[in-house]
Subunit: 129 residues, 2 copies
């Protein structure tokens, strides 16, 4: 049975947080936001489109080529958070060149350790304007 | 080499979003928020503590018994989002009785399908007050 749902954009002033997960490995890649238009375009095109305060409508990978093909769209119990399962092109979701934005792990003694390997140098992918 | 980092609580008016993932299966369980105190208590006790607008400081599982033992704390590139990897006690993170809050999947024809099995009836776990 299919349920009709209104995604609750009002709570976040027009935005909902979106958790993006690698559909193959299960690794959490990033957290971003969508407005209603970004979600509609994601559904329509099958590619992840977010909304960012600095970029506005943000077609992920438009500049870097590292777009995300959407395999699943999920919604949480309160209908105010989205989970995307994606195939990440280029292997790196993070603009810092790492596969995941969550490349730093807290150590018990305090402080954060980078546990991932950089796949590209941001300076060569994002041209300075 | 360990890095010292200031988590950016300012951007979200004292709160950061927290993605919580099952440390064993990799399933994304929920999205919640922490303030500085919740993060400090999570680090100190090894159990997930969030902050919610309705509950204030929210020691996950205090009422349901379904607490979360923290295995890893990660931070994203902008230091404004946390990723927790946890062992979920009782098997269900969601107050609706599902293992994950993201129990509904969007179908291509539109509409949302519940793809998970309920592990408990919320009415028996959360006493009406």
């Amino acid at each position: 049975m299919l349920e009709t749902l209104e995604i609750d954009f009002a709570k976040g002033n027009g935005l909902v947080p979106v958790v993006t997960q690698d559909a193959v490995t299960g690794e959490v890649l990033m957290l971003a936001y969508m407005n209603e238009q970004a979600l509609a375009e994601t559904v329509q095109t099958g590619r992840a489109v977010y909304w960012s305060r600095s970029r506005g409508l943000w077609r992920k990978g438009e500049e870097s080529g590292n777009h995300q093909d959407v395999r699943e769209i999920r919604v949480d119990c309160d209908a105010d958070t989205i989970l995307l399962k994606v195939v990440q092109h280029g292997g790196a979701a993070c603009h810092e060149g790492f596969p995941s934005c969550f490349y730093r792990k807290r150590e018990d003694e305090g402080g954060w350790r980078t546990t991932a390997t950089r796949l590209f140098d941001p300076a060569t992918v994002y041209k300075k304007k």
